[in-house]
């Protein structure tokens, strides 16, 4: 397993676990407005918001300075993975737009909390999608060349 591939895998798994934990906490609260009421929930959300990109930064970016750990083939895969990241961000925004429109169409307004959640989820998904794109890139290049 290439160094970048291994780090992308760690980053993806840790990010996924943190994200699932965050969703579970929200689900346990049962109401989206808990984000505004509960300071602990906000703390968990902010920790994940900062933690996931930070883990990604440390694992994927900072440790790949040596040419024997990162070369042109890895760079090619990273460039391709940006496409997955871009698609995931667009898809996330589309899902939020459709969901919020359908749920809050009658009220004519959306709770302010969603602004923060849209930003948080997009950032986390963007990071996860980049790691995932790297993993798929390695799978593809090892399979098809």
């Amino acid at each position: 397993m290439a160094p970048l591939q291994r780090r992308a895998l760690y980053s993806f798994v840790i990010g996924l676990v943190l994200t699932i934990a965050l969703i579970a906490v929200f689900a346990a609260q049962g109401d989206i407005t808990a984000f505004e009421r509960d300071p602990n929930l906000r703390l968990v959300t902010y920790a994940v918001l900062i933690g996931v990109p930070l883990i990604y930064l440390i694992l994927v970016n900072l440790t790949l300075r040596k040419p024997t750990q990162f070369d042109e083939r890895d760079r090619l895969i990273i460039e391709k993975s940006s496409r997955a990241q871009w698609l995931a961000v667009i898809f996330t925004l589309v899902v939020w737009t459709i969901a919020l429109t359908e749920v809050y169409q009658d009220q004519g307004q959306v709770p302010l909390t969603f602004l923060k959640l849209i930003f948080t989820s997009t950032l986390i998904i963007s990071t996860l999608a980049h790691s995932f794109g790297i993993l798929v890139g390695y799978w593809d290049i090892n399979r098809n060349g």
Partner: protein
């Protein structure tokens, strides 16, 4: 479309059974790239091709060959 073949595995053997790790270190790439090259699953850039040839102290065309299909 042609195909680019290489003799990296053979040349490693001829150079005192140079390890993939050592070649990667000399050429400035990862061992995984050397593995991919030996399996003909990756075509290197011109720069990397020259660095690999230099690691073997041999002309480029001794390492890489273009074959018409």
């Amino acid at each position: 479309m042609g195909r680019i073949e290489n003799r990296i595995r053979r040349l490693r053997f001829d150079h005192d059974e140079m390890t993939q790790e050592e070649l990667a270190s000399r050429a400035g790439c990862t061992r995984q790239t050397i593995i991919a090259l030996e399996q003909s699953k990756y075509v290197p850039s011109i720069e990397l091709a020259f660095r690999i040839a230099r690691a073997f102290d041999t002309p480029l065309e001794e390492v890489f060959q273009y074959e018409d299909s």
